[in-house]
């Protein structure tokens, strides 16, 4: 556990240092300099940092509470939409239709009045509050139903997947009032800073790094506390914790909501940096992708989630432009390779011989079982 603490600190320092370095090299060196970081790299890295927050959120529930969520991108996207609503209102009369209140897409579908749920989003603080409250409320409601009725394992995975699928379909609808198919885009500025200015991009990237660092510190504090130990106990033997007098559902619910909020903040920072939010962010594949980032980095290590998100996305950026046809093969192969050969992830490789040896042993003993024996035939633990 102490070793993990060190890993956390190194990761924290690494992320912040990398962000500062990139920012400095972008702003302070002339474009001709060999060390100059091109403008496009800043929001790109900022995007990775937001993904890392999503991965961190997934690791918090999957790595520590054993909840394999296949719908966490829903919270990420919801946070993004809340921020998108603020950014749409910020456009004001500069839209194509120059309507001072209504976003372009509403004018386009013939609405003449702002729906009630858009009220307040002209204030940044209100949007920020909603970024956290709305996903927290959804997570709370969903988790309350799911955990109280003891849905767990793959069944929970399937319904989280169904949740994000349902949200995606809902946001595709024009009459939801969130821009339908096209979502929201053409943002102009945030808090008065023009989004197309380089300093704004750097500021957003640094804010993402800060938010990620704060989220990591929070997650670390949670997992290192007695609360975190109960979570691990729940992950390993949920029924046993009940006979000790714990209510696993309240622990799961608490960490689930915290995790949803972390993902949502990631999403909120993501939107101004990529300049668009649309329903495809809810697509089930995105959530599964986030899980694989965590697997690559190392489940249940927090730092691993961050590393995994950044490394996989670097690879994705490079491969999709260099060898687009190969990307899906590589990504699919990565899923298989990591689950088969690298159960501890990258961090597992580095984190010392003893842990690694145990993992291997655990795997071997598990392999002796056939499908039916440990299969999830019963849902309730």
């Amino acid at each position: 556990m102490i070793a993990l603490g060190r890993v956390t600190i190194v990761t924290l320092g690494g992320v912040v240092a990398a962000a500062l370095l990139l920012a400095g090299l972008n702003l302070l060196t002339p474009a001709a300099n060999a060390l100059h970081v091109p403008d496009f790299a800043i929001p790109l890295f900022g995007k990775y940092l937001c993904y890392a927050m999503l991965a961190l959120a997934v690791d918090l529930v999957w790595g520590y509470a054993g909840i394999l969520t296949l719908g966490h991108a829903a919270f990420f996207a919801l946070g993004g939409y809340m921020m998108g609503m603020y950014l749409m209102r910020e456009i004001g009369a500069r839209g194509v239709y120059a309507n001072p209140v209504l976003p372009d897409f509403m004018v386009f579908i013939g609405w003449n009045k702002l729906p009630w749920y858009w009220y307040g989003f002209d204030h940044f603080w209100f949007a920020l509050l909603m970024v956290m409250l709305v996903p927290a409320a959804l997570a709370g409601l969903f988790g309350w139903f799911a955990f109280r009725s003891r849905v767990s394992g793959v069944y929970l995975s399937i319904i989280t997947q169904a949740l994000t699928y349902a949200l995606m379909l809902a946001f595709f609808r024009n009459d939801m009032g969130f821009g339908g198919n096209n979502g929201m885009t053409d943002f102009k500025d945030i808090l008065g800073f023009a989004l197309n200015r380089e300093t704004t991009a750097v500021g957003l990237m640094l804010a993402s790094a800060g938010a990620l660092a704060a989220a990591l510190a929070l997650a670390r504090a949670i997992t290192a506390s007695r609360f975190g130990k109960v979570l691990l106990a729940v992950r390993e033997a949920e029924a046993r914790t009940r006979f000790l007098g714990y209510r696993p559902e309240s622990y799961k619910l608490a960490v689930w909501v915290v995790s949803a909020v972390i993902a949502a903040i990631g999403g909120a920072l993501y939107v101004p940096q990529v300049g668009i939010i649309n329903p495809s962010e809810f697509s089930p594949g995105n959530s599964i992708e986030a899980v694989i980032w965590v697997s690559v980095g190392g489940r249940g290590t927090l730092a691993g989630a961050i590393l995994g998100a950044i490394i996989v996305n670097l690879g994705k950026t490079w491969l999709t432009s260099a060898l687009p046809a190969v990307w899906l093969f590589a990504f699919g192969g990565l899923f298989i390779a990591v689950t088969l050969c690298l159960p501890g992830g990258l961090i597992g490789l580095f984190a010392g011989r003893r842990r690694g040896a145990e993992k291997a042993r655990g795997t071997v003993s598990e392999r002796q079982h056939g499908p039916a024996e440990r299969a999830p035939r019963g849902v309730v633990g």
């Binding site: 130990k229 109960v230 106990a233 029924a239 000790l244 309240s250």
Partner: protein, 247 residues
């Protein structure tokens, strides 16, 4: 059945898809008593434990704890909170946690997430853990992860966790399965020690072990009590011989 009974099962029935796992089972345990429960496979021993600890809701009947609380209305954490501890057949300890932390989580106290988030280990807690490590002979293993313990050590750790809960009633499912003779004897001693301040129900197959406990034995058969008495009486009972010992 006196008012001093710590546990009383009153005509409890449970059925799974028409199979009657418990069939109007009635059973009383006096405060401070240790009871051994035996029976062939499928006699309903584990289901009985499940009903007492709230894992299974019975179709009919009541389970009274300390003559006043009906356990069939409560769920597992609430029943655990009343002071009923349970040890499973297969040792289940929290493998990723250290021996120390396993005991810490089992100690009595607030179980709410909010408390757990801010809790710091108190001196009293540390002292109690030291004591338990001593009782369970795991002092040297304090900082090791439970996954690394031997099978016997895990059984002991689990018993230690039960003691940490400080229960009034302890349900123990096959405590000596897979133990060596020396470990079995030591376990019998440990149970005797536990029984000094607590009521205990032990489910066991090992007749030598049951004999060494020297307590009243209840024989279950097809979900109901077939016979009750000392081990000698039980072994002399022709019905028991027929359904169980005779085979």
């Amino acid at each position: 059945m006196s008012a001093a009974d710590i546990l009383r099962l009153d005509r409890v029935s449970v059925s799974f898809d028409g199979f009657k796992a418990l069939n109007e089972l009635s059973l009383a345990l006096a405060a401070g008593e240790m009871r051994a429960v035996i029976g062939p496979n499928g006699a309903g021993k584990t289901t009985m434990m499940d009903v007492i600890t709230g894992k299974t809701k019975p179709d009919a009947g009541r389970v009274l704890f300390a003559a006043q609380v009906d356990l069939t209305r409560l769920d597992e954490p609430a029943i655990a909170g009343l002071g009923i501890g349970r040890k499973f057949q297969r040792p289940t300890v929290f493998e990723p946690l250290t021996v120390h932390d396993n005991l810490l989580l089992a100690l009595g106290g607030d179980r709410s997430p909010r408390f757990a988030l801010w809790a710091r280990e108190s001196a009293a807690e540390r002292e109690r853990i030291d004591e338990l490590l001593h009782t369970t002979r795991l002092v040297a293993e304090r900082g090791r992860r439970a996954a690394e313990l031997s099978h016997g050590q895990k059984q002991w750790l689990e018993i230690g966790m039960l003691l940490a809960q400080d229960p009034k009633l302890l349900l123990i499912d096959e405590p000596v399965a897979g133990m060596s003779d020396a470990e079995t004897a030591a376990t019998a001693d440990l149970l005797g020690e536990i029984n000094r301040s607590r009521s205990v129900i032990v489910v066991e197959h090992d007749m030598a072990f049951v004999r060494s406990l020297g307590v009243t034995v209840t024989v279950l058969h097809e979900g109901a009590v077939l016979a009750e008495g000392s081990i000698e009486e039980i072994q002399a009972d022709p019905r028991v011989v027929e359904v169980y010992l005779g085979r």
